[in-house]
């Protein structure tokens, strides 16, 4: 259709320039006078420009999800020349006295912008249970499903009526062993599927984003209003998440028709793609930046489950860590350059760490007892390294941190009350973070 073609042309142009944004905003407001075809789109595209609402709204979060669990020894907590330390050296960073793995030279140079925890200590030692807990904050309690942190943030910090999806999962790989099973689960839990992620990447594409032939924009939105009305009673009578989620996806259709061009990787500036790439993980990290710039609240970037190094740990980390180093470096710098780092929290973590010792296959196995994660930006004290492990990295030797206090710290950094009680009729009492776990003051700005 001519209309859609025009829309694509307008929105697929490289983003970033003020000039372009102005044009897009004008278009979205329906102010591009003269084109009759555009006028019929007014009911569809009458929301304010994405970037404006993003600026107004403030806080957001990017999670670089290192699924499978990276080794703390080859990243944030090196133990050079110790029997557990592996073959890689450590290098100094921009924080005097703090060393990290030599596989991360770029990140070392911006260590003063990061906040690193070296004393994570958690319980679950299997992927599914650990992924579940480190993304929701609590172990399961069936039949109740706690929402993911991303869903909580989408609800608390996001704008439900925004056309830009508030929670986006970028993951090119439909597989990923236990991560695959997790991805099939109920992400938004008791908050309702409207706070679940829009998935993109790999086989997840945004298709069917154009108006059907011979259907006016008015009919398109009126028949949806009728559909929504006809579905309401059924949804009231059926409490299951499956039913609720079905109705909620239709509420997002119109927004996605508008926001679809934001997901066009080819429209991102070539210079940026060169810096972040090659590889999908880098492209998706760049896309995450682009999405939060344009109004998304929570973007989770994953790449299947590549970090589960039961075999040839060192060789695998030699491949994976430099890529992550490059991506972290550019992402943090870009956010800082755009003056967005103060409002954007970046989390870099997996579901646990890896054993100090090697197995027969020269791999490191699962190790939740003492591991590391890193953060940067919004609400955090930069240049802090919190906690430590003993000389061989076997035990946490100083200030252990569990997932509850980590979550409390993250929520507080984003300006949210960690202990607020959910309003859930017919449910037991649930709090955003249980057991009154306290945020860590030393980590907060």
């Amino acid at each position: 259709m001519q209309n859609n073609h025009r829309l694509d042309t307008m929105l697929n142009a490289p983003c970033g320039s003020v000039d372009h944004r102005l044009h897009r905003r004008l278009f979205l407001q329906g102010s591009l006078a003269g084109a009759a075809s555009v006028a019929s789109f007014q009911s569809l595209f009458s929301v304010p420009a994405f970037a404006d609402s993003a600026r107004a709204q403030g806080k957001r979060c990017i999670l670089l999800w290192l699924c499978g669990a990276p080794s703390q020894f080859e990243t944030w907590d090196p133990k050079p020349s110790r029997p557990t330390g592996g073959p890689f050296a450590s290098i100094p960073t921009s924080i005097p006295g703090v060393h990290i793995s030599e596989l991360m030279p770029k990140t070392a140079s911006i260590m003063d912008k990061l906040t690193v925890v070296r004393s994570m200590s958690t319980e679950p030692s299997e992927h599914f249970q650990a992924i579940d807990m480190l993304t929701r904050g609590e172990p399961p309690r069936p039949p109740f499903t706690r929402p993911l942190m991303g869903s909580v943030l989408a609800k608390q910090l996001g704008q439900l009526d925004s056309p830009v999806p508030q929670f986006v999962l970028l993951d090119p790989c439909p597989e990923g062993n236990e991560f695959k099973a997790f991805k099939a689960a109920n992400w938004a839990g008791w908050l309702g599927a409207e706070y679940g992620p829009v998935r993109f990447g790999g086989k997840y594409k945004l298709e069917n984003v154009n108006l059907p032939n011979d259907l006016s924009a008015t009919d398109h939105s009126d028949r949806e209003a009728l559909r929504s009305f006809l579905s309401k009673k059924f949804a009231n009578d059926h409490k299951a998440a499956s039913v609720q989620s079905y109705n909620s996806v239709f509420e997002r259709v119109r927004g996605l028709m508008q926001a679809a061009p934001l997901f066009d990787l080819n429209a991102l500036p070539q210079a940026d793609r060169d810096r972040y790439g090659p590889g999908t993980f880098g492209m998706h990290a760049l896309l995450a930046r682009h999405l939060v710039e344009n109004g998304s609240t929570f973007v989770m970037v994953a790449n299947g489950m590549p970090w589960d190094c039961h075999v040839l740990n060192h060789e695998t980390h030699q491949m994976l860590v430099p890529e992550t180093d490059r991506i972290v470096f550019h992402l943090i710098n870009d956010l800082a350059d755009r003056r967005m780092l103060d409002d954007t929290l970046v989390l870099i973590m997996g579901e646990f760490g890896r054993t100090p010792w090697l197995n027969e296959a020269r791999g490191r196995d699962h190790y939740p007892k003492a591991w590391s994660m890193a953060m940067a930006g919004c609400g955090l004290k930069p240049g802090v390294v919190y906690g430590s492990t003993d000389e061989n990295g076997v035990e946490v030797s100083d200030r252990p941190l569990d997932q509850r206090r980590l979550f409390a710290t993250i929520y507080r950094a984003l300006g949210l009350d960690p202990h607020v009680t959910y309003d859930l009729p017919d449910f037991p009492t649930f709090n955003r973070v249980e057991k009154d776990a306290a945020p860590v003051a030393e980590l907060l700005a």
Partner: protein, 559 residues
Amino acid sequence: MLQPFVISCVIFAALCFTLQAQEAAQPIPSQPTSTVSVDPWQSIPLGLDPTSVIDLALEDGWRTNQIAPVAPADDPTFLRRIYLDLIGRIPRSDEANAFLARTDSMKRVALIDSLLESDEHSDHFAEVLDAILIGRTDIDQLRRRTNAGWIAYLKRAIHDNRPWNEVAQEILLARSSSTQDRGANWYLYARNNKPQDIAEAVSKDFFGVRIDCAQCHDHPLASEIEQRHYWGLVAFFNRSKNVDTPQGPGLSEAAIGGFSEFSNLEGQSLPNELVYLGNRRVEETRPSKETKEEERDDLYIASSEPASRVPKFSRRERFVEDVLKDHPLLSKGTVNRLWAWMLGRGLVHPVDALDSYHTPSHPGLLDWLSRDFAKSGYNMRRLLRSLALTRAYQLVSTEEKFTDPQWFSSSIAKPLTAETLQRSMLVAMAPENPENWNKLEHRTSFAKLFPDVLAEESISNVSQGLLLTNGPSINELVSVKHSGFLKALRSLHTVENDTSAVDSTLVTQLFAGILGRKPDAQELEHCLAYMSRRVERRDQAIEGIAWSIITSAEFRFNH
């Protein structure tokens, strides 16, 4: 009618007695727990009517948990539900009228029986089994296995109601050479010579147990699943190799090789012996590491064809005979899956988690049903019929407040599978050229977006919403131009002249044709308002309303 009544009295007495005994047998906390407690379910005889046993066991759960079950479903609700579950589509209006006109007390039983015996039932269940056993694939893969006879094999197995253990054995022996049965070979053949893929699939599909994580270590949460079971199951299939014969795909098997070791987390190397869950073990002489085994003709059955010759000691055959044949998990896994199919979730949830970490909601009942199923000769049709006749199956699906679904105190709304949703849309819209919408291409592309079959929790995603809203195919289907149903409704106004009466009739018929019920006053009002704004564009008005109904949650779910 005396006989069933007497039977239920007997069961009721037996169950009351045993359930009370069960309560009494629970040890008082202060007592030492070494007291031997006898499972009262063991004393309920097998071969009783499973429906009555299920009803009493579920009712006991409601009492114990102080839950009130919801009301029974009326005839139209039951009708739609049973059509969708058993033959994978909504009823046509003539079928609905015939059923609703009947007044006899046996009408539901009669309907269940006739559906179970229909060809549509075997077509539908073959599709479901294909989605479970093979998964969602692209169209080329679907064509290949259709040509290989796999779909036809499943259809015939359902049509003839073959004992499920026999079918399972045939599929896993994969040595069928007759034109009629060679499709059975596809299940193993589809795994492309990857014995680990075979092991993970076989365990999940036929025993209801996911063993994937035992590849690297004993299951951390279900201690009965050990790493040696994973590698044992692999070993049963690691001498097999895909062969393409003029008759179609097959699997050869070597008489030697397949001995290897796996290492556990402690770094020990252990032999991959032929062993699987439930302490099922097949003895086999293991050559010493120094021995080099040699292929010899006398290791194989003399008469067999060279390409698919059969070893005298066949690991696959031993697996089928000594492990699979009467394994308790084979019946338990099947019972749990068919229960989930009919009642919306398994007694063990999710359906492929029959391990000690996932406790059943009604352990005694599941165990009894599994033993009864085995005793019945793995009779799937009998079990489906029994489930369809239970009180729980015939409850309404609406509930005022959330109750834990594991008690089955209301009917659980089930999302239609891709095929069922698509076929039901075709039934409702009655396109003038149905073949244009019912090609393999449509089914695979639809199934790609709606892949779930018995998912742990089926959460919709935006891609589905975008397809149902903007997808060209659905918008064409729900159009006056293509839909015979809508075209007929459009011509209503030529009969009468009172526009508002015509419009009311039209909306009422849209609801009846798509949802099998009348609109309520508010629904009618909203739809008429929608039409009144499109007086000059009557076709678009009809299409808009039809689209709103066919994409409503009520249509999307079996409830």
